[in-house]
C-alpha cells in the first residue's frame, strides 16, 4: 500500500495528513478533516455536489486524488463566509430561495464563486452555462440563477459608507 504525507491549505489553514494514494480528495475533506459541507451526490463525475476550488479553480473533488492536492490551496463551502458574515452568494441563496433540499447547494456556491471571480457581471445565460456541471433536482435552477445574480449585484455595489 502506498501512503503519502500531504500538506494542503484548506480554507486558509494548513492541514497535514497521511493518505493512501487512492484516497479521493472529497473523502480527505469530509472524513479526515470533518468538513462535511462538501457533498457526494454521484459516482460518475456528473453532479458537481463535491465542487471545491483548487488553487482558485472549480473542480470536482470526487475526481481527484487527495495526494494531487499536496502543496495546493483548497477552498470549500466552509471557507466562504468570513468572520461570521454570510458571503453575498450565501445571502443570495437565502433571499432568493435558491435551495430546497440543499444537497447541491455547496457545489453550486463554489461553482458560482468561481464564475464571479472570472466574470463579475455575468448574464443569465453565462450563469446557466457556468452551473451546467452542477445538478439540482429541486429548484428547476431559476432561483439559483436569481441567487447568483443577487450576489453579483451586491458584490458590485459600492461599499456603504458608515455614518
Amino acid at each position: 500500500m502506498s501512503k503519502h504525507t500531504i500538506t494542503v491549505t484548506v480554507n486558509g489553514q494548513e492541514q497535514t495528513g497521511e493518505v493512501e494514494s487512492r484516497l479521493l480528495l472529497v473523502h480527505f475533506i469530509r472524513e479526515d478533516l470533518s468538513l462535511t459541507g462538501t457533498h457526494i451526490g454521484c459516482d460518475t463525475t456528473s453532479c458537481g455536489a463535491c465542487t471545491v476550488l483548487l488553487n482558485g479553480r472549480a473542480v470536482k473533488s470526487c475526481t481527484l486524488f487527495a495526494v494531487q492536492a499536496n502543496g495546493k490551496n483548497v477552498e470549500t463551502v466552509e471557507g466562504v463566509a468570513q468572520n461570521g458574515q454570510l458571503h453575498p452568494l450565501q445571502e443570495g441563496f437565502w433571499e432568493k430561495h435558491g435551495l430546497q433540499c440543499g444537497y447541491c447547494t455547496p457545489g453550486m456556491i463554489m461553482s458560482a464563486k468561481y464564475l464571479l471571480g472570472q466574470n463579475p457581471n455575468p448574464s443569465e445565460a453565462e450563469i446557466r452555462q457556468a452551473i451546467s456541471g452542477n445538478l439540482c433536482r429541486c429548484t428547476g435552477y431559476n432561483n439559483i440563477v436569481k441567487a447568483i445574480l443577487y450576489a453579483a449585484e451586491k458584490l458590485n455595489a459600492p461599499e456603504e459608507v458608515a455614518a
Binding site: G48, L64, V67, S111, G133
Partner: protein, 290 residues
Amino acid sequence: MIPGEFDYYSPSTVQEALSLLAEHGDEAKLLAGGQSLIPAMRFRLALPAVLIDLNNIDGLGYVREENGHLAIGAMTREADLEGAAVVGNKYTLLADAAQVIADPIVRNMATVGGNIAHSDPANDHPAVMLAYGAEVVAQGLNGTRTIAIDDFFTDLFENSLADNEILTEIRIPTPGANSGGAYVKVERKVGDYAVSAAAVQLTMNGNTCTAARIGLTNVSAVPMRATNAEQALIGQPLTDEVIEAAGQAAAAECDPSPDLRGSEAYKRDLTRVVTKRAIQKAMERAGGGN
C-alpha cells in the same frame, strides 16, 4: 466507490516520467486530467498498479501558433483551450468543440492530451483532430516522433503510442484562406457523451468545395473519418442535394451501437443530421455557399 490500490509518483519533468514509465511498463498508467481515468478506477474498470501523475510537470500546458500550425501542449486544460483567443479567431471547429466537452467544471481539470490519448471514440477531440488532419507528438527516452492522426487510433481505447512514450503535443495545421470548420454535437444533457457529433473542416473556392475532412464522434468502435461523406463533397458545388448526399453517406458508413442514447437507426439518422449541419456551418464560415 473506492479505486483499487496503486503506487503514486509525481515526476517534475517529462524525462523523469519516461524513466518511471520504462521502469513500470504496462503496469503503469499516466494520470493527466483524470476525468476519464479516475471514474474508470472508481468502477474498477481500470486497476493500474502504478499512477504517474503528469500534473506537476511544468511546460506542458500551452496553446500557440508556430511554423504553420497550432501547437497545443498535452496538459493544456480544456478550459484554457476554450479561453485561448487564437482558437476562437481562427480554429472555429476546435472552438465549437471546446465549449461542449463534458461540463465547465470538468473542463478545469480535463486535458486535451488526455482526451486524445484515452482514444475513446465517445470523446470529442478525436473526431476534431481527424477533421483537421492533426499530428501528435510522442516523446520517448530516445527522442520524439510525430504521428499523423490518421495513423493514431488503432482500436477501442488503443492507439499507436508505444508503452514507453508520452503524448506531449498536438499540432493542428493552420487553416488556409477560404476554409472553415464546425463541430455539431447532440447530447442528452451537458456533460454526457455525444449521441452523435460531426467535425467538419472545408476549403471552398466560391461555391465549390475543394477539400473536406469529416470526423464522427461516438458512432464507431474506433474514432473514424467519414471518407465517403468527404468524397461526396470534394469537387462539388455545395448545393442542398450535395450536402444531403454527404449526410447520407456518413449515416451509411458509421457503425453505431444501440444503447440508452438511442437505437442504431436513430443514431445513423442523427449522424446524417449533425453532418449536414456541420457542413452548412463550415461552408458559411469558409465564406462560400448559398
